[in-house]
Structures are given as C-alpha cells and as structure tokens.
C-alpha cells in the first residue's frame, strides 16, 4: 500500500507541470477605464522546458510574469507555479522560483558580493553555505573579479549577469526571465543565451519573455505568442513556422507603383503585412515562382528596387496571427506601462 | 527633397537693444510658465513663510505686549520676515530650473539659437522678480486680512513690493551664477542651508534687541537683518528715508554684485565651449 501511495505521488509530480495557468486575467483600473493587460491566458510549461513568451511591448508578457511570480494578484483565473497557487500560497511559490525581471533589480551602492549575501539572508540560506554559494555563482557568471566593486560601476551586461546570479542563489526549480537581453550588446546576449541553455541542461525549467524573434527561436523549446493580453499562437517554433506555409517574397517598389504592384502580386498568392515601403506576398511555389512575378511586374511597368525571398519566420507567424509584424512594432494595447512593474508613477 | 536649396524662412535680425529686450521678456515668460507648471516646487515658498508667520504670531503674542517691542503685534512684526523668506526660497528654487536646463541640454539649444546671451540669465532674474511681486501681494493680502496694518500706507506697500523684487533679483543673480557654474540642480539645492543661515541668523523671525551674545553680533552684521528691518519699518513706523535706504539700497547693492557674478559665470561657460 505504501508503495502504491508513493507511486501515486510520483505520478502526480510527473504530471504536475511547474507552471500552469487557466484563464488568467489581470486588469487595471475600473469602470470605463479598465484595461485588461492579461485577458484569459492558458498555458502550461512542462518540466525541464524553456518556454518562450513572445510579443511586442505592451502585449501583456511582463504582467503575466508578475502575476506568476506573485508580484500581482490575478483578477480572475488561476495559476500554479511549482505546484503552489500563486494567489493563496505566494510564500511557497517564492521559495521555489528565481526571477530576473525586465530591469536588473540591483542596488547600485552595494557590491556584487554584498547583494548575494543579502539575497542569501532573504532566502534563509545559512551563512557558511551562503558564502560558498556566492563564490560559486560569481564564478559561474564571470563576475569574481568585480565582486567587491559597487554595482553602480558595472556595465549593462555585468548587471544582467549579476541579476541572474541573484535569482539562482536558492537553487530554484523554476526560473522566470523577463526580457533578459533587452539593451545588451550582441556578445553579452550570446553569453546570456549560453547561460540559459546550461541552466536548462542542469534541470531548471525556464519561462522566458522576449520581444526578440531570434531569441525565442534560438532558445525556446516551445513558444507562445501573446498580443493584447491573449495568446494567439502556441507551439514548437518549427511547427509554427511551417504552419504559416509559403515563403514570403518581399519587394521594394517606388511608392507611385505600389498599387499596381499590389494588384500584380495578389495574382500569385496572399498579400502579407510588411514594414513600410515594402510589399510582401506568400509564394506557394517558392523560388520557382520568382521569375514569373518579376516578369509580371515588369509588364505592369513596376520598377523593382530590391527583392528577397524569406522562409517563414516567427515574424511571419506573428503577422499571420495578429495582422502586423512584431519587429519594429508596438502593441496597440492600452495596457498601462505601470502594469508591467511596480515602479514610481 | 527638391533640388532647390532649403533656405530658412526667417533670418534672425542683427542683435539690438530692442531684440535683447524682446528675448529677455520671452525667456522671462518661459521661466514664469515653468514655475507655474511646477506647483509642488513653488508651493513651499508660499506655504512655509505663512506657516512660520502664523506659528510665530500664536507663539510669541505675549512678547509683542512688551513695551519696547518694535511692532503693534507679532503679526505686524513677522510680515516682512515672511516676505523675505518666501522670496529667498523661490529665487533659489528658480535657479534649480536653470541648472536643470543645463543638465538636460535645453541650455545648449538656446546657445545654438540667435538668442541674446544675457537674456538667458536676465530672463531668469525677471521671472524671479515676477514671482516675488506676486508673493508680496499674496502675503500682504493675507496679513492684512488677518489684522495687520501697513503704517506707511500705499507708499509702504510699494516700498515692500520693490524691496521684495530687488531681493529676488539679488538672490536669483547669485543662485543663477552657481547654477551656471555647476550645471547641477543638486549643487543649487545644496545652497539651501546658506539661505537658512542668512534668514535665521537675522532679525527675520525675532527682534534683534532680544538676542544676546555672539548670536546678536552675527545678526547685527548680517545684511539680511537690515533689509528686513527696513521692510519692517514700512509696516510699523512712520515713513522715513532710512526704510528706503535699508530695504532698497542694500538689495540693490547685492543685486549689482550678484548679477555681475551670474553674467561672468555665463561668459566663462560660453568661453569654455
């Protein structure tokens, strides 16, 4: 019987995903001024996964993270993290998660080592172990040499690495990273990606929000695309891209010929949303159809300045789901900036 | 873009006195608007002096019954000190705006325009005077409503107003110089203790004759004591030339020096660029 009970418990542990949300809603304001920053999000992040949450600024990513990390209470719906309810078991949730938010949450007057010591106290790590742990993490993120310097003298990349180290002090099983590479130079970004992959290989489940397509593509096992507080697509990046179907032919034409060009392109496939000054069409036949397109444009008197054929990208997936491109776009959401953090008004 | 060369739609006229005045008035207007749009920064220079005046009147009323007290009531005594306090605070705070302009780059925007250079400083002084005159009107209005009297009548009212404006000019010139030299609002803020010292180590809040020892000596040497006593004369004594000499000439003298300091600071900053 004892073996049976253990088996049931083990099964529950196996089937209980680290992050589960059902109909999660978070609104701000009231009455006519209500803004639904998160508007019915369902998601499940499985054990050992890197889950990417992709969307433009104001889509609801950070608000969702803040609800899941107990910084905000859900207005409706439910969520569990590490098996604990975020609304009623906030303390247990906090013990199980590590969080690195959008802005590196550090005190510029303290040194890296002092911050790690403080973080250890906050999580009840005994002093002897805390010092060891701090040294391990500093070495891990490459900040040993700078450990006794004030954080205010650190570069942006160093602050992010320290922020990551702080979120790992208590060996959390679930890690939330909210736009971890925003503002970093390409080298620092790559370093951080490698770090995330390493953590994941060691068993940490990661929920990562980003507005960078490449980051989601490179890191995430599965992604969810969020727009205006709702998840519009979810799945493995490869599958999502191939579901979009045809590659996109992008052409630059003179603005005086744009209408004619549009008419021509519409004969070859679906017109796709593009950035300003460019037209796009989905070519089911791929590269084989390019010559015909050029000939038809030429016959219509359209002068093509530039063209390229792009395989489906996450931006195409996003465009197909939302009607606009993620790159260079702001969400047309009314979500207030203060909903994303508890900063000063 | 057309092949035609883009030309300015308006060419700035050669600098003249009229231009300088126009620029000064325009920048004064900008500074005054800037002050009005920061009520949280402006309010303390109205609230605190009135509060201290009310507190002093209620606390020291017994003192005012003494036969040698230099006013009919403590309210009458403290009116001048309240004006001086408000003017000094407002002028210091206004210089902080100038330092902010430098820190945030608006100062350089002015420099790359054909604006008369002195207008950048004089405009700021002008706004300090406008605020000071407003303060005098508001304070005297409130004091009169609560029973104070201006012994010298309308002449005294004008005397107090001019004195407040000249004091604002003096303080603003000094603080603007500090703002331009440092380019830092924090440094200007750091000058507040000096303002406190000037005010408290004087007869702004209490008659000098009741002070003793080194405190009385310092207060006697402090030019602020004499300015305040000149203004108190307008409130409490028959009209006398001494009131004008103290309440006008001393701030005017300080203003002359402080404006030169401010303009010199501007010249040095321009030379360094």
């Amino acid at each position: 019987m004892l073996v049976g009970c253990h088996l049931v418990v083990a099964c529950n542990l196996v089937t209980s995903a680290p992050i589960i949300a059902h109909g999660l809603v978070r609104h701000f304001g009231s009455g006519d001024n209500t803004v639904r920053a998160v508007d019915g999000v369902d998601l499940q992040v499985d054990q050992g996964e890197i889950f990417g949450f992709l969307g433009p600024n104001g889509a609801g990513k950070s608000t969702t993270v803040r609800v899941l990390t107990t910084l905000l209470k859900p207005s409706a719906g439910s969520a569990t993290v590490a098996g604990f309810d975020v609304a009623t078991q906030a303390d247990q949730v906090r013990r199980s998660i590590g969080v690195a938010l959008q802005d590196a949450a550090i005190d510029p007057l303290m040194t890296g080592r002092e911050l790690l010591d403080l973080q250890s106290v906050l999580y009840g790590i005994p002093k002897t172990r805390a010092r060891e742990r701090g040294d391990e993490l500093l070495e891990r993120v490459g900040l040993t040499a700078a450990a006794d310097r004030r954080v205010g003298t650190y570069s942006g990349g160093m602050r992010r690495r320290l922020d990551l180290a702080l979120s790992l002090v208590h060996e959390p099983s679930v890690l939330f990273l909210d736009e971890p590479t925003t503002g970093l130079d390409p080298m620092s970004r790559l370093t951080l990606w490698e770090e995330v992959r390493r953590l994941n290989r060691e068993g940490t489940t990661v929920l990562l929000t980003t507005q960078y397509l490449e980051e989601a593509d490179q890191l995430a096992d599965r992604i969810a695309i969020i727009d205006h507080g709702k998840i519009v697509r979810e799945g493995v990046p490869r599958d999502l891209k191939s579901a979009v179907g045809a590659p996109t032919l992008l052409i630059d034409v003179d603005s005086t010929h744009a209408e004619s060009a549009r008419t021509v392109l519409a004969r070859f496939g679906d017109l796709r949303p593009t950035s300003e000054g460019t037209l796009g069409v989905g070519l089911v036949q791929g590269a084989e159809a390019v010559a015909s397109v050029i000939r038809s444009l030429d016959e219509a008197g359209v002068h093509v300045r530039h063209l390229e054929l792009n395989e489906p990208s996450l931006d195409d997936v996003f465009a197909e789901a939302t009607g606009y491109r993620l790159e260079g776009a702001e969400a047309k959401s009314d979500a207030p900036a203060t909903g994303a953090r508890r900063g000063p008004r | 873009m057309t092949a035609a060369t883009a030309t300015a739609t308006h060419v700035a006229p050669p600098r003249s006195f009229a231009t300088a005045v126009h620029h000064t008035l325009r920048l004064t207007q900008r500074s005054v608007l800037g002050r009005l749009r920061q009520p949280a920064a402006l309010a303390p220079s109205f609230i605190f002096p009135l509060f201290f005046a009310a507190l002093g009147s209620a606390s020291f009323q017994r003192m005012s019954k003494l036969p040698d007290f230099p006013a009919s009531s403590f309210l009458n005594y403290t009116a001048a000190g309240a004006i001086v306090q408000g003017v000094l605070f407002a002028a210091t705070s206004s210089a902080g705006d100038l330092a902010t302009d430098i820190e945030q780059g608006f100062f350089e925007r002015l420099l790359v325009s054909p604006v008369t250079r002195t207008a950048i400083v004089i405009g700021r002084l002008g706004s300090a005077m406008v605020v000071a005159i407003t303060q005098v009107f508001v304070f005297l209005g409130i004091f009169l409503a609560f029973g104070a009297r201006i012994e010298t009548g309308v002449v005294g009212f004008i005397g107090l107003t001019v004195s407040g404006a000249l004091l604002a000019l003096a303080m603003s010139g000094l603080m603007s110089g500090i703002a331009i030299r440092s380019g830092s609002p924090e440094v200007v803020q750091g000058s507040f203790p000096m303002v406190f010292a000037l005010l408290f180590l004087s007869s702004s809040f209490f008659p000098r004759q009741y002070m003793t020892g080194w405190y009385k000596t310092v207060a006697s040497w402090n030019p602020m004591s004499h300015v305040v006593e000149g203004m108190q004369g307008f409130m409490n004594q028959p009209l006398d030339i001494d009131q004008f000499l103290r309440a006008w000439l001393i701030p005017l003298g300080i203003a002359t020096v402080s404006i030169m300091f401010g303009l010199r600071a501007l010249a040095n900053r321009l030379a360094a660029q």
Binding site: D91, E171 | M63
Partner: protein, 271 residues
Amino acid sequence: MNTSIVNDAPRSATGREHGGHPLSVSGALVRRTLLRVRRMPAAFVPSIVMPVFQLIAFSGAFGAAVRLAGVKNAMDWYVPLNAVQGASFGAMGVSFGLINDMQTGFFDRLLMAPTKRWALIVGPMAGSIARAALPVALVIVIGFLGGMNVPGGPLAIFYVAVAATGIALVASAFALGLTYRMRNMGAATLTQFAIFFTIFLSTSQVPLSNMAGWLHAVARVNPMTNVLRLARQGLLGDITWNDTWGGLLAIAVMLFVSCWFALSGLKSLEK
C-alpha cells in the same frame, strides 16, 4: 570552469524549507541602510546639519521668548525639539530609499523574498533609528556645550532618546505607508510636510500657557505635545510619572497606527 551550480540531489518541490527568518531579514536591511549612509554621505549630511543648525538658530533667535516663559536656558527647551526633529529626518531617508528601490526594481526583489511581510517594514524602521543616532547625539552634545541644564539627571537624557527613537519609528512607518501608496517623490515631500507640521503645531516654540487661540487648541490635542513633555521634563525640572505616561502612550498609539498604515500600504501593492 564548467561546474554545475544546481544541486544534483533531487530538488524538493518547495525549494528552501522556511525562507528568510524575518528578524534576519530585518537585520540585513538595517545593515544595508547603514551601508548606503556610509557610501552616500552627502545625502545624510543635511539630516545632521539641519537639527544642529536649528538648535542654535532657535535658541539664539527665540531664547528671549522661552526665558520669558520661565525657562532658564533656551537649550533646555530646544534640545528635545531638535532631537525629535533630527530623528524624524530619517523618515525622509526611508522614503527616498524606497523610491530609489522602486525605480531600480530592487524593491521587487525584496517583495519576492519568501519572508514575512512585516520584516520588510521593520528593517527600514530599525534602520531609521540607526540613522537618527548621530544627529540626536550631536544635538545633545551641542546642548551641553550651550549650557543645557539637566536637573533630572541621566534619566532626562534617556527620555530625550526615548522620544527621539519613538518619533523615528513613527515617522519612518508613516513614510513607508505613504510611499507604498504614492510610489513617487510626492510621498517624500508629503512626509516632510506632515512631520514638520506635526512637530511645529505643538509646544515647539513656547509652553502651552504662552500660546494664543488656535495654536493652543491644536497643540493641546497634538500627541507631539505629550512627546515633547516627556522629553523635556528632565531638562526643565524633576521627572514625574505624570509627565511621562502621556508621552509614552502617545508614542505607542502613533506607532500602532503608523505600523498599520505601513502594513496595509504594503499589502495594497500586492493587490
């Protein structure tokens, strides 16, 4: 080096068993306060300079008024006032510090710590006492140099310290509550105004018997009057229970209310 930093033992679902002990967390936050003071002394200097300056200014300017009320030395009257005022400056520091933490996002890190919420309040409050120690001590020393009388003996100085400590705690709790709700520099300004008016609309300048009209009515009901009475008694005469209990009660009640204000403000952030 490619060491794993994650424990190879099966990770428990709860991670750390208990989280940070609230007293340890509070202690760490006090240490952090002192660290910040040491590393940014310019921000701390006004809270030392202003009470000392005002002690000298008030006793010099208004000394005659208090002597008229029967006080032997103006220092006897103003040392408790400026000690309490110096202690209250710590509240502004608490507010500025919290705003700064909110701006940098560090406050979120504290909020996510698995510890009792009250530890996040007690820490800064205790830190404000540490900040208050130097200005209060300086004011007392300057008082002695200025000829302050101490007929009540060492207990008189103790009561000055008790009053100052009580006001430091009350003011910092109030500052926290306001800052949690407003989340901008307006909270620091409002804190300053509130503390300033509370202190000065009491027996700050003259005894109750010397006051007139509206000020007398306000000062009579202002709890600060009792606190100042507690602090001043040993410098003006003998220490009596009659002059003591009112001040202690006033501090206790204000502390209770301000702590509730702070805790409810913190809870409102998580809504």
